[in-house]
Symmetry: C2
Subunit: 155 residues, 2 copies
Amino acid sequence: MEEQLIQEVIELALLNVKEGKGGPFAAMIVKDGKVIVRATNTVTSSNDPTAHAEVNAIREACRILNTFQLSDCELYTSCEPCPMCFGAIYWARLKKVYFAARQEDAAQAGFDDSFIYQQLHLPHLQRNIPFIRLNHPKYRKPFELWNLTLEKVKY
Amino acid sequence: MEEQLIQEVIELALLNVKEGKGGPFAAMIVKDGKVIVRATNTVTSSNDPTAHAEVNAIREACRILNTFQLSDCELYTSCEPCPMCFGAIYWARLKKVYFAARQEDAAQAGFDDSFIYQQLHLPHLQRNIPFIRLNHPKYRKPFELWNLTLEKVKY
Protein backbone atom coordinates (compact mmCIF):
# COMPACT_ATOMS: atom_id res chain seq x y z
CA MET A 1 0.00 0.00 0.00
CA GLU A 2 2.78 2.50 0.90
CA GLU A 3 4.37 1.75 -2.49
CA GLN A 4 1.13 2.56 -4.30
CA LEU A 5 0.55 5.79 -2.36
CA ILE A 6 4.10 7.07 -2.89
CA GLN A 7 3.71 6.40 -6.61
CA GLU A 8 0.45 8.36 -6.63
CA VAL A 9 2.05 11.34 -4.92
CA ILE A 10 4.99 11.31 -7.37
CA GLU A 11 2.52 11.32 -10.28
CA LEU A 12 0.66 14.22 -8.67
CA ALA A 13 3.94 16.18 -8.49
CA LEU A 14 4.60 15.45 -12.18
CA LEU A 15 1.11 16.68 -13.07
CA ASN A 16 1.71 19.90 -11.09
CA VAL A 17 4.70 20.73 -13.30
CA LYS A 18 2.74 19.88 -16.47
CA GLU A 19 -0.12 22.12 -15.39
CA GLY A 20 2.26 24.97 -14.38
CA LYS A 21 0.73 25.40 -10.94
CA GLY A 22 4.00 25.58 -9.01
CA GLY A 23 7.11 23.60 -8.06
CA PRO A 24 7.58 19.84 -8.66
CA PHE A 25 6.09 18.77 -5.34
CA ALA A 26 2.94 17.03 -4.08
CA ALA A 27 1.64 15.69 -0.77
CA MET A 28 -1.30 13.63 0.46
CA ILE A 29 -2.90 13.10 3.86
CA VAL A 30 -4.01 9.57 4.63
CA LYS A 31 -6.42 8.63 7.42
CA ASP A 32 -7.43 5.03 8.19
CA GLY A 33 -5.79 3.91 4.96
CA LYS A 34 -7.81 6.38 2.88
CA VAL A 35 -6.45 9.44 1.05
CA ILE A 36 -8.41 12.41 2.39
CA VAL A 37 -6.38 15.23 0.80
CA ARG A 38 -4.30 15.56 -2.36
CA ALA A 39 -2.31 18.80 -2.63
CA THR A 40 0.51 20.30 -4.65
CA ASN A 41 2.92 23.22 -4.43
CA THR A 42 1.09 26.41 -5.50
CA VAL A 43 3.67 29.06 -4.46
CA THR A 44 3.78 30.85 -7.79
CA SER A 45 0.17 30.39 -8.91
CA SER A 46 -1.29 31.55 -5.58
CA ASN A 47 1.41 34.14 -4.76
CA ASP A 48 2.02 32.49 -1.41
CA PRO A 49 5.58 31.47 -0.42
CA THR A 50 4.10 29.22 2.29
CA ALA A 51 1.96 27.24 -0.18
CA HIS A 52 4.21 24.19 -0.27
CA ALA A 53 2.49 20.86 -0.94
CA GLU A 54 2.77 19.72 2.69
CA VAL A 55 1.46 23.00 4.13
CA ASN A 56 -1.42 23.03 1.63
CA ALA A 57 -2.25 19.40 2.50
CA ILE A 58 -2.17 20.05 6.27
CA ARG A 59 -4.32 23.17 6.01
CA GLU A 60 -6.88 21.40 3.83
CA ALA A 61 -7.04 18.31 6.07
CA CYS A 62 -7.58 20.51 9.13
CA ARG A 63 -10.33 22.37 7.33
CA ILE A 64 -12.08 19.12 6.33
CA LEU A 65 -11.70 17.46 9.73
CA ASN A 66 -12.40 20.68 11.64
CA THR A 67 -9.37 20.36 13.89
CA PHE A 68 -5.88 21.83 14.31
CA GLN A 69 -4.29 18.46 15.08
CA LEU A 70 -3.90 15.49 12.75
CA SER A 71 -2.62 12.89 15.23
CA ASP A 72 -4.40 10.03 13.47
CA CYS A 73 -3.16 10.95 9.98
CA GLU A 74 -0.09 10.13 7.90
CA LEU A 75 1.60 12.34 5.32
CA TYR A 76 2.91 11.16 1.97
CA THR A 77 5.17 13.63 0.19
CA SER A 78 7.06 13.46 -3.10
CA CYS A 79 10.12 15.06 -1.42
CA GLU A 80 11.65 15.29 2.03
CA PRO A 81 10.11 18.33 3.76
CA CYS A 82 11.88 21.70 4.02
CA PRO A 83 12.25 23.27 7.50
CA MET A 84 8.97 25.17 7.09
CA CYS A 85 7.04 21.99 6.29
CA PHE A 86 8.98 20.09 8.96
CA GLY A 87 7.70 22.59 11.52
CA ALA A 88 4.15 22.42 10.14
CA ILE A 89 4.23 18.59 10.41
CA TYR A 90 5.21 18.81 14.08
CA TRP A 91 2.64 21.50 14.90
CA ALA A 92 -0.05 19.37 13.22
CA ARG A 93 1.23 16.37 15.21
CA LEU A 94 1.00 13.94 12.30
CA LYS A 95 1.62 10.25 13.05
CA LYS A 96 4.15 9.43 10.34
CA VAL A 97 5.76 10.89 7.23
CA TYR A 98 6.59 8.95 4.06
CA PHE A 99 8.78 10.68 1.48
CA ALA A 100 10.31 9.82 -1.91
CA ALA A 101 13.05 12.26 -3.03
CA ARG A 102 15.64 13.50 -0.54
CA GLN A 103 16.87 17.00 0.39
CA GLU A 104 19.89 16.53 -1.90
CA ASP A 105 17.60 15.80 -4.87
CA ALA A 106 15.67 19.02 -4.23
CA ALA A 107 18.93 20.97 -3.95
CA GLN A 108 20.15 19.58 -7.29
CA ALA A 109 16.91 20.79 -8.88
CA GLY A 110 17.58 24.31 -7.55
CA PHE A 111 15.42 24.32 -4.41
CA ASP A 112 16.88 25.92 -1.30
CA ASP A 113 15.91 23.43 1.40
CA SER A 114 19.49 22.48 2.33
CA PHE A 115 20.51 26.13 2.39
CA ILE A 116 17.72 26.93 4.86
CA TYR A 117 18.72 23.96 7.05
CA GLN A 118 22.27 25.38 7.12
CA GLN A 119 21.04 28.87 8.00
CA LEU A 120 19.16 27.50 11.03
CA HIS A 121 22.49 26.65 12.68
CA LEU A 122 24.11 30.04 12.27
CA PRO A 123 24.19 32.69 15.00
CA HIS A 124 21.42 35.29 14.57
CA LEU A 125 23.50 38.04 13.01
CA GLN A 126 25.53 35.81 10.70
CA ARG A 127 22.50 34.62 8.77
CA ASN A 128 21.75 35.78 5.23
CA ILE A 129 18.61 37.27 6.74
CA PRO A 130 19.84 38.89 9.97
CA PHE A 131 17.73 38.15 13.07
CA ILE A 132 17.99 41.09 15.45
CA ARG A 133 16.87 40.85 19.05
CA LEU A 134 15.26 44.00 20.47
CA ASN A 135 15.21 43.66 24.24
CA HIS A 136 12.02 45.51 25.14
CA PRO A 137 11.13 45.57 28.88
CA LYS A 138 7.64 44.16 28.15
CA TYR A 139 8.76 41.20 26.02
CA ARG A 140 7.50 38.60 28.53
CA LYS A 141 4.07 40.18 29.01
CA PRO A 142 2.19 38.16 26.34
CA PHE A 143 3.44 34.87 27.88
CA GLU A 144 2.62 36.05 31.42
CA LEU A 145 -0.92 36.93 30.39
CA TRP A 146 -1.24 33.59 28.56
CA ASN A 147 -0.19 31.70 31.70
CA LEU A 148 -2.67 33.67 33.82
CA THR A 149 -5.54 33.09 31.38
CA LEU A 150 -7.62 30.13 32.53
CA GLU A 151 -10.06 29.90 29.65
CA LYS A 152 -7.83 29.31 26.66
CA VAL A 153 -7.45 26.71 23.92
CA LYS A 154 -3.98 25.17 24.28
CA TYR A 155 -2.16 23.69 21.32
CA MET B 1 11.65 53.52 15.36
CA GLU B 2 12.55 49.82 15.90
CA GLU B 3 11.80 50.31 19.61
CA GLN B 4 8.35 51.69 18.84
CA LEU B 5 7.51 48.93 16.36
CA ILE B 6 8.61 46.12 18.68
CA GLN B 7 6.45 47.64 21.42
CA GLU B 8 3.48 47.73 19.04
CA VAL B 9 3.92 44.06 18.11
CA ILE B 10 4.18 43.05 21.79
CA GLU B 11 0.94 44.92 22.51
CA LEU B 12 -0.70 43.16 19.56
CA ALA B 13 0.32 39.78 21.03
CA LEU B 14 -1.15 40.79 24.40
CA LEU B 15 -4.41 41.77 22.70
CA ASN B 16 -4.52 38.40 20.91
CA VAL B 17 -4.55 36.59 24.26
CA LYS B 18 -7.20 38.96 25.67
CA GLU B 19 -9.40 38.37 22.65
CA GLY B 20 -8.89 34.57 22.76
CA LYS B 21 -7.89 34.31 19.10
CA GLY B 22 -4.87 32.06 19.62
CA GLY B 23 -1.41 31.88 21.18
CA PRO B 24 0.46 34.89 22.66
CA PHE B 25 2.17 35.89 19.43
CA ALA B 26 1.99 38.72 16.88
CA ALA B 27 3.94 39.83 13.82
CA MET B 28 4.04 42.83 11.50
CA ILE B 29 5.45 43.41 8.03
CA VAL B 30 7.12 46.77 7.45
CA LYS B 31 7.89 48.24 4.04
CA ASP B 32 9.64 51.60 3.54
CA GLY B 33 9.21 52.33 7.25
CA LYS B 34 5.44 51.74 7.10
CA VAL B 35 3.54 48.87 8.71
CA ILE B 36 1.64 47.17 5.89
CA VAL B 37 0.38 44.09 7.79
CA ARG B 38 -0.48 43.36 11.42
CA ALA B 39 -1.15 39.70 12.18
CA THR B 40 -1.51 37.39 15.17
CA ASN B 41 -1.48 33.66 15.89
CA THR B 42 -4.89 32.20 14.97
CA VAL B 43 -4.10 28.46 15.21
CA THR B 44 -7.01 27.58 17.47
CA SER B 45 -9.60 30.05 16.20
CA SER B 46 -9.03 29.20 12.53
CA ASN B 47 -8.27 25.46 13.03
CA ASP B 48 -5.00 25.86 11.17
CA PRO B 49 -1.75 24.65 12.80
CA THR B 50 0.22 26.74 10.27
CA ALA B 51 -1.54 29.99 11.25
CA HIS B 52 1.33 31.35 13.31
CA ALA B 53 1.64 35.15 13.44
CA GLU B 54 4.64 35.22 11.07
CA VAL B 55 3.04 32.90 8.49
CA ASN B 56 -0.23 34.87 8.64
CA ALA B 57 1.71 38.13 8.19
CA ILE B 58 3.74 36.81 5.24
CA ARG B 59 0.67 35.38 3.49
CA GLU B 60 -1.27 38.62 3.93
CA ALA B 61 1.63 40.83 2.76
CA CYS B 62 2.04 38.67 -0.37
CA ARG B 63 -1.69 38.91 -1.03
CA ILE B 64 -1.64 42.71 -0.70
CA LEU B 65 1.55 43.22 -2.73
CA ASN B 66 0.61 40.53 -5.27
CA THR B 67 3.97 38.75 -5.06
CA PHE B 68 5.52 35.65 -3.53
CA GLN B 69 8.70 37.44 -2.46
CA LEU B 70 9.06 40.17 0.14
CA SER B 71 12.69 41.14 -0.46
CA ASP B 72 12.06 44.80 0.38
CA CYS B 73 10.18 44.11 3.62
CA GLU B 74 11.14 43.60 7.26
CA LEU B 75 9.40 41.41 9.80
CA TYR B 76 8.76 42.37 13.42
CA THR B 77 7.71 39.52 15.67
CA SER B 78 6.90 39.34 19.37
CA CYS B 79 8.90 36.09 19.64
CA GLU B 80 11.82 34.39 17.90
CA PRO B 81 10.36 32.33 15.03
CA CYS B 82 9.82 28.56 15.24
CA PRO B 83 11.35 26.35 12.49
CA MET B 84 8.16 26.57 10.41
CA CYS B 85 8.17 30.37 10.48
CA PHE B 86 11.96 30.42 10.01
CA GLY B 87 11.47 28.50 6.76
CA ALA B 88 8.61 30.76 5.69
CA ILE B 89 10.83 33.83 6.29
CA TYR B 90 13.54 32.39 4.04
CA TRP B 91 11.12 31.35 1.29
CA ALA B 92 9.59 34.85 1.36
CA ARG B 93 13.15 36.28 1.23
CA LEU B 94 12.49 38.98 3.80
CA LYS B 95 15.24 41.57 4.36
CA LYS B 96 15.52 41.48 8.13
CA VAL B 97 13.79 40.06 11.20
CA TYR B 98 13.36 41.86 14.52
CA PHE B 99 12.18 39.82 17.49
CA ALA B 100 11.45 40.42 21.19
CA ALA B 101 11.12 37.19 23.23
CA ARG B 102 13.54 34.29 22.67
CA GLN B 103 12.98 30.58 22.01
CA GLU B 104 13.61 29.86 25.71
CA ASP B 105 10.83 32.24 26.71
CA ALA B 106 8.39 30.45 24.40
CA ALA B 107 9.47 27.08 25.80
CA GLN B 108 8.87 28.28 29.37
CA ALA B 109 5.34 29.27 28.38
CA GLY B 110 4.73 25.75 27.06
CA PHE B 111 5.36 26.21 23.33
CA ASP B 112 7.30 23.49 21.56
CA ASP B 113 9.67 25.52 19.38
CA SER B 114 12.86 24.26 21.06
CA PHE B 115 11.61 20.68 20.90
CA ILE B 116 11.05 20.98 17.14
CA TYR B 117 14.53 22.49 16.68
CA GLN B 118 15.94 19.43 18.51
CA GLN B 119 13.92 17.01 16.38
CA LEU B 120 15.39 18.54 13.20
CA HIS B 121 18.80 17.16 14.14
CA LEU B 122 17.73 13.58 14.77
CA PRO B 123 18.07 10.80 12.19
CA HIS B 124 14.82 10.19 10.28
CA LEU B 125 13.65 7.14 12.20
CA GLN B 126 14.60 8.38 15.66
CA ARG B 127 12.26 11.34 15.50
CA ASN B 128 9.05 11.50 17.53
CA ILE B 129 7.32 11.58 14.15
CA PRO B 130 9.18 8.95 12.10
CA PHE B 131 10.23 10.05 8.60
CA ILE B 132 10.29 6.99 6.34
CA ARG B 133 12.00 7.04 2.95
CA LEU B 134 10.24 5.01 0.24
CA ASN B 135 12.71 4.57 -2.59
CA HIS B 136 10.40 4.50 -5.61
CA PRO B 137 12.14 4.18 -9.03
CA LYS B 138 10.35 7.31 -10.32
CA TYR B 139 11.26 9.61 -7.40
CA ARG B 140 13.41 11.91 -9.58
CA LYS B 141 10.85 12.29 -12.36
CA PRO B 142 9.16 15.49 -11.09
CA PHE B 143 12.57 17.23 -10.82
CA GLU B 144 13.64 16.00 -14.26
CA LEU B 145 10.44 17.33 -15.82
CA TRP B 146 10.89 20.62 -13.94
CA ASN B 147 14.41 21.01 -15.32
CA LEU B 148 13.21 20.26 -18.85
CA THR B 149 10.31 22.70 -18.62
CA LEU B 150 11.30 26.03 -20.16
CA GLU B 151 8.20 28.06 -19.40
CA LYS B 152 8.02 27.98 -15.64
CA VAL B 153 7.94 30.47 -12.81
CA LYS B 154 11.01 29.85 -10.63
CA TYR B 155 11.04 30.75 -6.96
